[in-house]
């Protein structure tokens, strides 16, 4: 039976199975495609960022069009990556976009200074409410119920768009949810330090100058977050969710400023306990490794095959296969080739990746496809068509 003959629910089960087989190092019916298109969808549909970010009906059109033109098995982004309307209804945010240059960016920011790390960790809601938000919004003292109500309404509109789009993709296009709702998409404390609490520069300085307070804060946040999730996973039934591609996912980005010694101090204990718990419950875990992670691969080498999948960005996928023969690798399709190469070069490279890396491989792009020059539409279409039709049992 081909995908065309299946109901959307049958397609969800089929596609989920492709991912589960790939992570388990079984040869899937065909190698699945985790499509990393993000804001590129908007440009390809002929809209400006300002139009799609400010009108959920336009954003839905962009995502639907992408689903109908470019076949794939899982999509990185459903158009709900940046809640611009929520923040803009309240004040000035850190994120920005520019229609002319087709850029989405973020100003450097931090939620607290180094000396407040432990205070923040002990009660983040209190700290954000009494210190971070008043410092961020100059008119905080003048905000009234109508301001909060307007922004809360925008938050619900954003949530409704996001959940609605996920349901449309599942129920109309047969695209599974990425993660099981029981386990989800947690963040380790050191990652939140990197992306928000202290920012890249702040975290790098804290590691050198304020390591003890950083360690105390990380431990408090992880005890209230990731370790509670680990306990919850330990109480779940064994086995994978048949309607999702992974049981749990997380993003690694902080490792780009961590030496192996720092990784051991701030990261290894919770992630090792999480992986071991997932192994014991026979579930599967995807880690998106942004930047390069090669200097830390030794820490992931000894887990048994069948549990871990890693989406790679800057690491060479063939070097990773040698370094991590136990980990299902996601990626391989370089966006420089997608944009600058010929159709034939892209197809030859796609075929080589699937032939040489399966089993234990999920096809994907090596970065989020965000900007116009991240992919040539003709090449991208040819690659998506090829991966969706290249069967492993040929």
């Amino acid at each position: 039976m081909t995908l065309k003959d299946m109901t959307p629910h049958e397609q969800v089960l089929y596609r989920s199975r492709l991912f589960r087989d790939a992570i388990a190092f079984r040869v899937p019916d065909r190698t699945p495609h985790f499509n990393c298109a993000v804001t590129w969808k908007i440009i390809d549909a002929g809209y400006k960022y300002s139009e799609a970010f400010n009108d959920y009906a336009i954003m839905e059109k962009c995502v639907r069009r992408f689903c109908e033109i470019y076949p794939f098995d899982l999509l990185m982004d459903n158009g709900a990556r940046n809640p611009f309307k929520v923040i803009e209804s309240f004040g000035k945010g850190y994120y920005y976009y520019d229609d002319d240059s087709c850029v989405v960016g973020v100003e450097p920011y931090q939620l607290c200074p180094s000396e407040d790390l432990v205070e923040y960790a002990k009660n983040p809601d209190k700290y954000l409410w009494e210190k971070t938000l008043p410092a961020k919004f100059p008119d905080w003292d003048d905000k009234g119920l109508e301001d909060f109500q307007r922004t809360m309404d925008e938050q619900f509109a954003f949530n409704n768009y996001s959940m609605g789009m996920m349901n449309i993709m599942r129920d109309e296009y047969g695209i599974p949810f990425a993660n099981s709702s029981q386990t989800g998409f947690p963040a380790f404390a050191i990652e939140t330090m990197f992306t928000a609490i202290r920012g890249i520069k702040g975290l790098a300085l804290d590691i050198r100058r304020n390591g003890d307070a950083l360690k105390e804060a990380v431990d408090i946040i992880d005890q209230n977050g990731i370790y509670k999730l680990i306990d919850k996973i330990a109480g779940l039934e064994e086995g994978t969710d048949p309607e999702t591609c992974y049981d749990i996912s997380s993003i690694m980005l902080a490792h780009t400023v961590l030496s192996p010694k720092s990784f051991e101090r701030y990261y290894y204990d919770p992630i090792n306990k999480l992986v071991n718990t997932i192994i014991s419950k026979k579930k599967q875990y995807r880690i998106t490794v942004e930047g390069a992670g090669k200097h830390l691969f030794d820490y992931f080498r000894d887990y048994p095959q069948g549990t871990l999948a890693m989406l790679l960005e800057q690491d060479d996928i063939y070097e990773c296969r040698e370094a991590l023969p136990n980990v299902c690798l996601i990626g391989g399709m370089e966006t420089t080739m997608l944009n600058d190469g010929t159709v034939q070069e892209c197809l030859d490279w796609s075929k080589k990746l699937i032939d040489e890396l399966t089993p234990g491989f999920i096809f994907g792009e090596n970065k989020f496809i965000s900007y116009k020059n991240d992919a040539n539409a003709e090449n991208f279409k040819a690659v998506c068509d090829f991966v969706a039709s290249y069967m492993n049992n040929r």
């Binding site: 850190y94 938000l133 003048d142 938050q155 928000a196």
Partner: protein
């Protein structure tokens, strides 16, 4: 003095959760949603 009467934590925060209109009138739901909004405002 401004009109923000919700500046204290937890009293002002809890009062705001109570005052906001939401699709569900459950107090716990309203606090969770307000926490989500605070996170959105702080991180975006």
């Amino acid at each position: 003095m401004g009109k923000n009467v919700y500046k204290d934590y937890p009293d002002g925060f809890n009062k705001l959760a109570e005052d906001l209109k939401m699709p569900m009138d459950d107090p716990m739901f309203k606090k969770v949603m307000l926490s989500m909004l605070v996170s959105t405002l702080a991180n975006n």
